[in-house]
């Protein structure tokens, strides 16, 4: 079985977002970039499937050179090789097109990625890739087992979950608790240095959307504290002042 895991490189979840250049660029100063947390789940499940079935794992990232540490970490965790499509990943259709182009050349049985990236939160790439390849797509996937050419899947739905079955090939958007997050060990880190990382140039469409500029939300007004022994006042304030109940 050949698995393609798609990963994004995103600001660490504790990052306070700020912009530069007249609010047209993310201020990357002091920001640590990490694998998209949902992509981490996809990779972790791929590594478990590899341990069980001997599958091969290729990691793909659409991103510029500064995402290579994130790609190396994925190799250290257990991917066999990696592809970086050398382009800024700001547009879901464009990113999907790059992934689909690589997938068409290499016929993967399973394409796994996070349910969404935590920067643009589009949650669209898996579905667009599925559509482009003519593969079914399912998201958000909480459990995945492979039995021959059949995938048994648990998917979250609003207020519950659903058990599904589908034949490979498939594209899946993953989330917890599909697997335990993996931390690279020393041996993994050493071998990751020698694993192949191929850089390819993008193909296809120009971006269908671009960002003109960014903005930060207005700060909230100061908190109004209520004494615990007067807790009931809160309910009055929510009704008369905030008018939300």
């Amino acid at each position: 079985m050949k698995i393609l895991v798609c990963v994004t490189s995103v600001p660490d979840t504790t990052t306070k977002i700020a912009f530069t250049d007249n609010n047209t660029k993310l201020n990357k100063a002091g920001v640590t970039f990490i694998t998209g947390p949902y992509d981490d789940y996809a990779l972790a499940r791929a590594v478990e499937l590899k341990e069980k079935t001997g599958a091969s794992i290729t990691v793909i990232n659409v991103g510029e050179a500064d995402s290579e540490p994130v790609i190396r970490k994925c190799l250290a965790i257990g991917a066999d090789d990696a592809i970086r499509v050398n382009a800024e990943p700001t547009d879901a259709y464009f990113v999907a097109e790059q992934i689909a182009a690589i997938a068409k050349e290499n016929s993967y049985d399973l394409i796994l990625m996070g349910r969404e990236s935590i920067d643009y939160n589009g949650g669209q790439v898996h579905g667009i890739v599925g559509e482009m390849l003519g593969f079914p797509s399912i998201s958000p996937v909480m459990q995945l087992d492979i039995d021959g050419d059949t995938a048994k899947i648990t998917r979250e739905i609003e207020g519950g979950k659903e058990q599904l079955e589908a034949k490979l090939p498939l594209v899946l958007g993953c989330q917890e608790p599909i697997a335990e997050w993996k931390i690279p060990n020393m041996r993994g880190i050493m071998t990751a240095r020698t694993k192949p990382l191929k850089i390819v140039e993008p193909t296809g469409t120009d971006k269908l959307t671009t960002v003109a500029n960014y903005e930060l939300p207005a700060p909230r007004s100061a908190v109004k504290m209520i004494k615990a022994d007067e807790a009931e006042t809160l309910i009055q304030l929510l009704r008369t002042e905030a008018k939300v109940i």
Binding site: I17, I118, G160, K161, E215, V223, M225, R239
Partner: protein
């Protein structure tokens, strides 16, 4: 050339978030000098379908093939794409939801559409087509220029307030050709909490964290939620520990919500938690630690023990 709005049903009724999308779509139609058409898939009474007119759409296309009774993102995308073609629509509007996300992605792929997710304002058409969307899990906004011929706008819940009239829409039945390939995923079983207020749609949310000490203590959270007709939510460790189902986990790696009122009980307010709830209109924080970071992001705060404060709040709500 009409603006097409996908309106989602829940048990035969148009979801509240879809009402917002209908109103938004009708406004875009007004801006662009076209009309607004809704596409509604699944079983619903004609009167419910026609009621989409309250928000400004003039026509409803109703697809109710039995195969479509089970929500299916891929098949729904095929139906909506056919409606786009029939109507010659250049702008498609919908509300973000679990089903709509699955559908939108396939649709964007079919139509080669420019897509903006988590849209929070009407578009600015003064110079191209620009929409404001929420990014970085609510920590920032982006102004997106949509350059593709076809544009899809997925609206973030509770950021658009619909105005209603007493108009009704005409209802046409719509039966496009379905693709067998869209039905290859088989649903073996499903579990869904029923009767309770669904979290993604909820206007009021009572949420609790590790401060509740254990699942056996959730009664006091549920009591307040029931009294308010609110949904319940939780922090990530709470769902990781299986105290609550994953579908209640809010935050950076969980559900992103934007209710009118978010009451956080025994939650520290870590940045990853805040990320999923920071666009709530009013935030109330109850924590026994006066230094808990959540107080910095709250509108109202009570420094106190949840085991004492929550029952008193419930009593006060019941007395209203």
């Amino acid at each position: 050339m009409s603006v097409l709005i996908f309106a989602e049903l829940d048990e035969g009724k148009i979801k509240k978030s879809s009402q917002e999308a209908l109103f938004y779509g009708a406004k875009v139609a007004e801006q662009t000098g076209t009309s607004a058409t809704a596409i509604i898939i699944g079983q619903a009474d004609d009167s419910e379908l026609a009621s989409a007119g309250r928000f400004g759409v003039t026509k409803v296309l109703h697809a109710s093939n039995a195969q479509l009774n089970e929500p299916n993102g891929m098949a729904y995308a095929t139906v909506v794409a056919a409606a786009v073609q029939q109507e010659g629509s250049k702008v498609i509007v919908l509300a973000k939801s679990s089903l709509a996300d699955a559908m939108t992605a396939r649709l964007a792929g079919k139509l080669k559409a420019g897509l903006a997710a988590n849209v929070v304002e009407l578009p600015d058409l003064s110079n191209g087509f620009r929409v404001k969307s929420s990014i970085y899990t609510g920590k920032a906004f982006a102004y997106n220029d949509l350059k593709a011929d076809i544009k899809i706008l997925a609206i973030k819940k509770n950021t658009i307030t619909p105005e209603e009239t007493d108009s009704t829409a005409s209802v046409d039945s719509f039966s496009p050709t379905l693709n067998d390939a869209d039905f290859v995923i088989s649903v073996k079983s499903s579990e869904k909490a029923s009767g309770d207020v669904l979290l993604p749609e909820a206007d009021l949310v009572v949420s609790a964290g590790r401060g509740l000490k254990g699942p056996e203590n959730w009664g006091i959270v549920e009591d307040l939620a029931h009294a308010l007709h609110a949904a319940t939510a939780c922090s990530k460790p709470v769902s990781d520990l299986d105290w609550r189902p994953h579908s209640e986990h809010v935050g950076q790696t969980g559900l992103k919500i934007s209710p009118n009122l978010y009451i956080a009980c025994g939650i520290s307010g870590a940045i990853q938690h805040l990320a999923g709830v920071n666009s709530s209109k009013v935030i109330v924080v109850i924590n026994k630690d006066s230094e808990a970071p959540f107080f910095k992001s709250a509108d109202y705060g009570i420094v106190g023990d949840v085991f004492d404060v929550l029952p008193r709040l419930t009593k006060a709500v019941k007395a209203l």
